[in-house]
């Protein structure tokens, strides 16, 4: 197996004449946390949408574990171990925390189309679901409906649900956006914790979080890769400094 779990080749997308992403080559190493940063409008969200099939690329290829997945459907990639999180918290509001997680586990049972069977068959999954909730500190919330939970808990529930799918590759879209300082710390720790044994790609503006978590960084600018590498190198790259931090090289060295 190749060292790279996910690669893109010359990825490109054209929104009615506007090239939002122009020839991006990404290489995501297995088992790392990979951050995508860049100025606003650089095309980060768009790349993300391409990877998760919410947009179709105009050109280029996406290769996952050696398979070309360029033309797969969203549900298909989920079944092959790529799961994304959303910017706004994505839970099933009127289901309990337990049911939320169980929904992720349920597919494995192969009974999801069985409209003639009782729901009781799902109870065999309850123990595992509880364990998953435990991982993110939500044991006490198992019977609470998601709407009734505070924001931070919802975020945790969402991650627990995602983890229940045992994804090989997790895609996180600005996981700390809109959070208070306390929550940011907690979520950062949680991401660190769950990164064991899997690969994570995240879009993030909070450089503190990126510095703490990311093994590798890709900087996008105007739809193109501007720089790549670990935080130390990237953050010292003069081009990045100018385009992203907004400081010229002289200022930085001064």
């Amino acid at each position: 197996m190749s060292d790279y779990i996910l690669e893109t080749h010359d990825l490109q997308v054209d929104f009615g004449g506007f090239l939002a992403v122009r020839g991006v080559d990404l290489k995501i190493a297995r088992g790392t946390i990979h951050a995508i940063i860049g100025p606003n409008g650089a095309g980060k969200t768009t790349v993300f949408n391409l990877l998760t099939k919410f947009h179709a690329p105009t050109a280029g290829r996406i290769v996952y574990n050696g398979t070309d997945i360029t033309h797969w459907k969203p549900a298909e990639i989920a079944n092959h171990g790529i799961v994304r999180s959303f910017q706004i918290s994505a839970v099933f509001p009127h289901l309990t925390a337990l049911e939320n997680v169980r929904l992720a586990l349920q597919r494995r049972l192969g009974v999801s189309y069985h409209f003639w069977r009782s729901r009781k068959v799902l109870q065999s999954l309850d123990r595992e679901a509880m364990e998953r909730l435990g991982q993110v500190g939500l044991q006490g919330f198992a019977q609470r409906r998601a709407v009734e939970m505070p924001y931070g808990r919802k975020r945790a529930l969402e991650i627990a649900t995602t983890l229940a799918l045992e994804p090989e590759l997790m895609l996180l879209d600005e996981p700390t956006q809109g959070m208070g300082t306390e929550d940011v710390g907690a979520v950062t720790d949680l991401i660190k914790k769950v990164s064991a044994g899997r690969t994570i790609v995240m879009v993030e503006h909070n450089l503190g979080v990126v510095a703490k978590l990311a093994d590798a960084i890709t900087v996008l600018n105007r739809g193109e890769v501007l720089a790549e590498g670990p935080y130390e190198t990237v953050s010292k790259d003069p081009a990045v400094m100018e385009a992203y931090m907004g400081v010229s090289a002289e200022e930085a060295s001064a």
């Binding site: 506007f18 100025p39 606003n40 409008g41 650089a42 956006q177 300082t181 503006h205 385009a243």
Partner: protein
């Protein structure tokens, strides 16, 4: 009408220091403001004051009620009581759509409020003028060069940063002299944050009066004349811009930055 006394255009009125206008009534005075969303009581007797040409920030943790304060000024809450005086005139019982024109206010909401079904150009031209002396399109494009290229695109096809600029730009056009800006740096790259910082400084120099709600204290600190710290819908502290250095401990405690 007290309006005539304060209706001079921001561009032409001289930047006034707080001391100089101490005798004149404050441009915005809020006393004992309470606000509700449905049954939930969010603001519990908030007071604050702002003179013409000043820039203040509202600081506080998530959910403290800063956004709600701005929305209450704009009449965008379900119910509000207390007193909101703008230029000496009472606004508490005015209907929402009269507030912006009468108070010459420009409001930039937290979630940016770019209209998906309008082009960038239409978004820009949407808010009606509330007074003389709004910025011209050229001035606006000079301040936010990115916007010039994307004018024909639909509003929500913009990236987050472009949307934020658009949201700012569109209220500068209207001739408002009191700007209420909510979390304008959220989700923005440092380079843009920097650009916004200098834009705001320029606005302040032009004599605009600004209320800034910010999470990003480092951004707000050098700009502000005064900071209000809000917690549970009340002002719990007030720190003059000059005292910030000395009050860092207090601030850290409030905001746990």
């Amino acid at each position: 009408m007290t309006r005539t006394t304060t209706a001079s255009s921001p561009a032409s009125s001289p930047a006034s220091s707080p001391a100089a206008t101490a005798a004149a009534p404050p441009l915005l005075r809020i006393r004992d403001l309470h606000a509700w969303y449905g049954e939930s009581h969010i603001l519990h007797g908030l007071d604050l004051e702002l003179n013409e040409g000043e820039l203040i920030t509202l600081l506080g943790r998530n959910g403290a009620g800063r956004t709600t304060t701005l929305r209450a000024i704009m009449g965008m809450v379900d119910r509000r009581t207390g007193s909101i005086e703008i230029g000496g005139e009472e606004f508490i019982s005015k209907p929402a759509h009269r507030i912006a024109p009468l108070g010459r206010i420009g409001y930039c909401p937290e979630e940016r409020g770019i209209f998906a079904s309008l082009t960038v150009g239409e978004n820009l031209m949407l808010p009606p003028a509330v007074g003389e002396g709004g910025m011209s399109l050229d001035e606006i494009f000079a301040m936010f060069p990115n916007l010039r290229e994307v004018q024909g695109r639909m509003g929500t096809r913009l990236s987050g940063g472009e949307q934020q600029m658009l949201a700012m730009a569109r209220i500068l056009r209207t001739g408002a002299r009191l700007l209420l800006l909510d979390e304008i740096t959220e989700g923005l790259a440092p380079v843009i944050v920097k650009a916004l910082g200098s834009a705001i400084r320029r606005l302040k120099d032009k004599g605009y009066t600004i209320v800034l709600v910010e999470q990003n204290f480092r951004f707000a600190a050098p700009l502000a004349d005064r900071h209000y710290v809000i917690e549970h819908g009340k002002v719990i502290d007030r720190i003059e811009g000059a005292e910030v250095e000395a009050s860092m401990d207090r601030l850290n405690h409030y905001l746990s930055v």
